[in-house]
Symmetry: C2
């Protein structure tokens, strides 16, 4: 990262404060400020700019999510030269999970800058912040290029906020995590076995996780426990846990 | 891409021929030739270099797959400024499907350079070439950087080999594609409904696609047709169709 001194345009920008806030978060002054504004705009606060498309952060999120995946893949590839692709895939999915991105967003303080219209939902979805984190990476990538986005993720995210030892050793127990959450939130839930097919030796379970009478996850597996874990993982994603 | 003239090292390399072949495919001379050799080595022809890891192209494939995803995301983001992320996601999944990568690999002629030990399987899996394509992108990324890999994908792949109009308009009918393949290969198959749960208005079908008595795909959907399509899509992936 080369640009640490304050560019002239910042002094005269109507978005001077936002520029400074971003500088604190990112460690550099953004170029195209409009991209960063977009990154913080949840669809609830967006307007339709053309049939079928809104000026929300969802497109940037699509792009940023992919950039993060590649940067993390590269990081893992080099950090673990003697691990196979199964290990790398598993590590990455733990590092880029929705839950992880929500955490990171809060740690970076992104939630303070969100444009959200809270009247649009009963409870603000927990994934809003994680989505903004992904969109922010998309904005950096478009504004400054891949190398810059990569440097940001390595130096300001992975090196500072991710405990690789924990990622490596910890198996995520989504069912426990989910149950912890529903208890805290005082919500009703149940795991329904909606189908079990096959012989007793080779039975496929289809399990639905229902939260407050809405389906939050469906999964199938030959092991009932595993199917529950998978359904809970899905629910954690959907509910932004 | 800047380097078009032949670097000195190529004249004296024991891999001179491989250098030239790669030059024809890539449009540039590779730097670290070992990476490219690795990209063409299927696990059947690999050796265990350390407990749990082989000198096959699988790690490179993991990396390259992600790089392709990001380059295509960027391409679509810019090409379709007024389409939402749902559209972009769908387009990308068509552009980076296993089937597409297999086709591209053949078009680039990568199959001629594969290191495969055919004695290891009855029929060579069709996905071998697509996997090598992904690994090759991983090799370019490591050897020359993101920008270079991006240029390669844009100028030598998307602009030349991908008909975007076709991608946009064509819904992939995986079931037809699958049936075409089994008929050509003279294999037996059947779609088994292994479970249908719920009321008649809201019935969830779990469908298994069985090829030569082995499960090639399992999927569930409230529409039976859709469940079959999804199972066929999975089978196309597994069987490299």
């Amino acid at each position: 990262m080369a640009i640490f001194s304050k560019p002239f345009r910042v002094y005269f920008s109507p978005d001077k404060l936002f520029h400074e806030s971003l500088h604190n978060i990112l460690g550099f002054y953004p170029g195209n400020i409009a991209l960063y504004k977009l990154a913080f705009r949840h669809s609830s606060a967006s307007q339709t700019i053309k049939k079928g498309v809104k000026d929300s952060n969802e497109r940037l999120e699509f792009l940023g999510d992919s950039v993060i995946g590649t940067v993390v893949a590269d990081y893992l590839f080099k950090k673990f030269p003697f691990k196979d692709e199964g290990f790398l895939t598993k590590m990455r999915s733990k590092m880029v999970s929705r839950a992880k991105h929500n955490q990171l967003a809060i740690k970076l303080g992104l939630n303070k800058y969100m444009e959200v219209n809270n009247s649009r939902f009963k409870n603000q979805p927990g994934s809003i912040n994680g989505d903004a984190y992904e969109a922010l990476i998309g904005a950096i990538y478009l504004d400054k290029g891949y190398k810059f986005a990569q440097d940001f993720i390595l130096t300001r995210i992975i090196n500072v906020h991710i405990d690789m030892e924990e990622v490596e050793t910890k198996e995520i127990d989504f069912k426990s995590k989910f149950i912890e959450w529903v208890q805290k939130e005082k919500k009703e839930f149940r795991f329904d076995i909606i189908a079990d097919a096959g012989t007793s030796a080779d039975k496929l379970y289809v399990i639905q996780l229902v939260v407050e009478n809405e389906i939050a996850g469906t999964a199938q597996h030959f092991s009932k426990k595993r199917a529950e874990q998978l359904a809970a993982e899905q629910a954690c994603g959907v509910l932004g846990i």
